[in-house]
């Protein structure tokens, strides 16, 4: 199979997934208790006004018409209006994307910076205290619920030691960078950094533990291969063997997982954002669910699904380009 065909197949599969998400969220909206008109107008509105709003929203139309209308709107990027704020959903989604993306990327950075050295050390010092420490860390990291971890980090690093802020985002990264470039002052950038440290650690801990394990097992496999023995026989330094040759070969599956996990992090940031009052998609998703704001809930879920699918396609493409066996299969 050519790369183009492979890509086309992946794209079609992605579209199918997105359609499924759209259909399921639309279905949930239909069967969920509650009347959108009551949410919009509140109690006490007259029958005439309720009927008018119902008409405006197309809620009097048969379900299949509502469904087709919604799909048509999606195609042109129209996700409807929020019941609560009456603002366009697509704007409410897009304005929260940078915060969530920043958090997901920062969590990924935390994972890479901590997990890979830890995994290497753990693999090269098997059955030594460093290895026990690393495997214990990864076990604890995978087992720790992030809402609990977030609260503990706040108590220690914000309340007890006063090192980092307990909540909020101050400014966005883009704004902070622009401020640095235009004024030469790094205050905004530093403020951004201080605010993101604890949420990024919270969100990234599970991911860090996962990558540590992957790195360790990959390294252990590679270290047992003949080319390592050959390199050692040639007299190459151990550091060079481990970091230039063995780690490089170990990185292929890790890079794949990193890409895929980025999508998971975007969707999985919900709890972390809520605990740290981080103004991203997750906290907006929770507030939309609380207030029965279905257009907004749908919009966010669809955005997350689309992001996940796109990231998967990109990762698959890179992987296929790097490893022709994938397309051959």
């Amino acid at each position: 199979m050519s790369l183009a065909k492979f890509l086309l197949r992946r794209t079609l599969q992605g579209l199918l997934v997105i359609w499924g998400v759209v259909t399921v969220t639309f279905g949930i909206r239909v069967v969920a208790p509650g009347d959108p008109v009551a949410v919009i107008l509140g109690p006490g509105a007259s029958e005439t006004l309720q009927e008018q709003v119902r008409e405006d929203l197309g809620l009097n139309e048969p379900l299949y018409v509502q469904y087709v209308d919604y799909l048509q709107g999606l195609v042109v990027g129209d996700l409807g209006y929020s019941y609560q704020s009456r603002r366009e959903v697509e704007i409410m989604v897009v304005e929260r994307v940078p915060a969530t993306l920043e958090l997901a990327l920062a969590a990924t950075v935390v994972a890479i910076v901590i997990a890979i050295p830890l995994g290497v050390v753990s693999a090269t010092r098997r059955n030594e205290p460093a290895d026990y420490g690393a495997t214990t860390f990864s076990l604890v990291g995978i087992s720790t619920p992030n809402f609990w971890l977030g609260i503990m980090l706040i108590l220690l690093f914000a309340v007890q030691w006063g090192i980092f802020p307990s909540s909020g985002r101050s400014v966005g990264l883009g704004e902070a960078v622009v401020s640095l470039v235009t004024t030469g002052h790094a205050n905004d950038l530093l403020a951004w950094a201080r605010h993101i440290v604890l949420p990024a650690i919270t969100l990234g801990t599970f991911f860090t533990a996962l990558i540590t394990r992957l790195t360790r097992s990959g390294m252990v496999d590679e270290l047992g291969k003949p080319y390592v023995t050959a390199a050692e026989a040639k007299g190459l330094p151990g550091v060079l063997i481990r970091y230039k040759h063995v780690l490089k070969n170990t990185m292929i599956p890790i890079v794949t997982v990193l890409g895929l996990q980025l999508g998971t992090l975007i969707g999985g940031a919900v709890i972390t954002e809520e605990v740290f009052n981080w103004p991203g998609l997750g906290s907006r998703l929770i507030s939309s669910i609380r207030s029965d704001d279905w257009p907004l809930t749908q919009g966010i879920l669809i955005f997350i699904a689309v992001s996940f699918v796109l990231i998967n396609i990109v990762v698959d493409t890179i992987y296929a380009a790097l490893n022709p066996q994938v397309t051959a299969e």
Partner: protein, 521 residues
């Protein structure tokens, strides 16, 4: 003053050095940021920036710095002059308001009587702007019109004091021309006449204000002000402890001790106007029986709820309105905890063996789910009935309850009701008069004359009685009748618990209003 969002604290910095040294150095490199501003953190904010599209205290707190109330409302519920300098009952059903002539909106428009009349119409007439949930509070007010530049004639169908109270509590002036130019309701802009003008608004997230230089009144105490929402209790409390917030609302009882002991922080409490109770819509079995409803009151130990669950915060209730509200009946005692009496009344009602479900909102009131589960377990302990609690999102419950139709409400539910008017009418009318949003009492065949009709007629009559003593007596009688009828399981009056910086001079109000103008550092 808080460093907005910084959390950098000189007081706590490095008090505990262990383990913090390295990170402290890193954080030190990262530095502090932001201008100083006074920060108030609540559990929730407002879904949009339209002052007439909400009816919840946290939202009013966000709007009040910008959208100025017509009257000042004292903590005792008395109205005083503000934008309105004089008011007079000129005729049956008419109140004449005289306005200041030096009030300007933040966009530079002069405030006129037409704006005030438009504001009132926008609240009570769904054809003007939006259908406003504040209409219920503007009891009996039917509309307003401008007589000249500084005089407004308000038309009403009730006791003039009651109409004034509605105006005093709910009316906040908007700019007619500015509002009409915009899509309704207003999404994220504000233009009022208050001491602060809006700098930034993010729905459900934060509102940032700066001083409005052309404000007609006293300069407010803080140059910059921020109201923000943090729904997670522990994060909200941490925000205070890290000095990122200057005032936080709804401190959980479990955190009260720690904050009280913390250097530079303080706990302030006040008995709130919010009444917590269990509603028993009596359109169906078993709550159509007065004996059964009374049994529920005897079965639930509201003293224990206050002491064991709320750590002593709260006052037991005996009737629909708290003490200090006009029409409260001081002679009524809360139902005592008496499971034997409850069993006996259930037998008398003939509804033994009923399986009840108590529906409760999640996180709207102080320890609401714990309270519901506790009450349900006490009822469940009776031999003759069973009960379990079901937790639902607050919005779902509100939707079921506030549609004016008792048949769509859950069979048995916990809810709270804040009465900012300090008049029994707003504690009674919405629940006991047919056609009102939360009407849930329509007993049909208890006794002659029919109880629900008698209560409803008495409430409507009380609205038109001009003599205040006579009206108070009538309201006290109604409260007594509802106590006897056991329309609700009367639980407790909430106590508002605020965490504040200890150098803040501010006494919290029972009506949950947070007015920076009443604060000083």
């Amino acid at each position: 003053m808080s460093q907005h969002g910084s959390g950098w604290t000189s007081r706590r910095a490095f008090l505990t050095a262990t383990g913090a040294g390295t990170l402290g150095a890193v954080a030190g490199c990262l530095g502090g940021e932001g201008p100083e501003e006074f920060v108030v953190t609540q559990g929730e904010l407002a879904g949009n920036a339209d002052p007439n599209d909400h009816n919840a205290t946290p939202a009013y707190n966000v709007f009040d710095p910008v959208y100025e109330p017509l009257f000042d409302l004292t903590p005792d519920g008395e109205i005083q002059e503000r934008i309105v300098t004089d008011w007079e009952h000129v005729d049956d059903g008419e109140i004449e308001l005289t306005l200041r002539d030096d009030v300007v909106f933040h966009n530079g428009d002069e405030m006129t009587a037409s704006d005030v009349a438009y504001t009132i119409d926008r609240q009570v007439d769904e054809e003007v702007g939006i259908p406003s949930p504040q209409a219920d509070g503007m009891t009996g007010i039917t509309g307003a019109e401008a007589e000249d530049e500084t005089t407004v004639l308000v038309e009403h169908e009730v006791n003039p004091e009651l109409a004034e109270t509605g105006l005093g509590v709910f009316a906040r002036v908007v700019d007619e021309e500015w509002v009409e130019e915009r899509e309704q309701p207003i999404a994220d802009e504000m233009n009022g006449t208050g001491p602060y003008q809006l700098v930034e608004f993010q729905a459900e997230e934060h509102a940032v204000y700066e001083v409005f230089d052309d404000y007609w009144g006293e300069e407010p105490p803080f140059d910059q002000l921020r109201f923000q929402a943090i729904s997670t209790d522990s994060t909200r409390v941490a925000d205070l402890e890290t000095e990122a917030s200057d005032v936080v609302t709804n401190v959980p009882p479990a955190d009260v001790h720690d904050i009280s002991e913390a250097e530079g922080l303080d706990i302030r409490t006040v008995v709130s106007f919010r009444n917590i109770f269990l509603v028993m819509p009596n359109d169906d079995e078993p709550f159509d029986s007065q004996a059964f409803r009374q049994a529920m009151n005897y079965a639930v130990d509201n003293e224990a709820i206050i002491s064991d669950i709320n750590d002593g915060f709260g006052e037991p209730m005996s009737q629909p309105v708290p003490e200090d509200h006009f029409g409260h009946n001081p002679d009524l005692e809360p139902y005592p905890y008496d499971p034997d009496e409850a069993e006996s009344l259930i037998e008398e009602s003939g509804y033994e063996g009923e399986a009840l479900t108590l529906t409760c909102p999640d996180g709207r009131y102080l320890n609401d789910t714990d309270i519901a589960e506790y009450a349900a377990s006490q009822i469940d302990e009776l031999d003759t009935v069973s009960c379990e609690a079901e937790i639902v999102p607050f919005e779902d419950l509100v939707e079921m309850v506030l549609d004016g139709d008792p048949t769509t409400a859950p069979d048995f539910f916990l809810i709270g009701w804040g009465n900012p008017t300090y008049d029994s009418n707003y504690g009674l009318e919405p629940w006991f008069v047919e056609g009102q949003a939360s009407y849930n009492f329509l007993e049909e065949d208890l006794e002659e004359p029919v109880l629900d009709q008698r209560i409803e007629e008495a409430i409507l009559e009380s609205q038109t009685v001009e003599d205040e003593d006579e009206r108070e007596q009538l309201l006290q009688d109604i409260n007594e009748e509802i106590h006897e009828a056991a329309a609700w399981v009367f639980l407790h009056n909430e106590e508002s618990v605020y965490g504040v910086r200890s150098d803040l001079e501010w006494e919290p109000r029972g009506d949950e209003r947070i007015n920076p103008g009443e604060m000083e550092l």
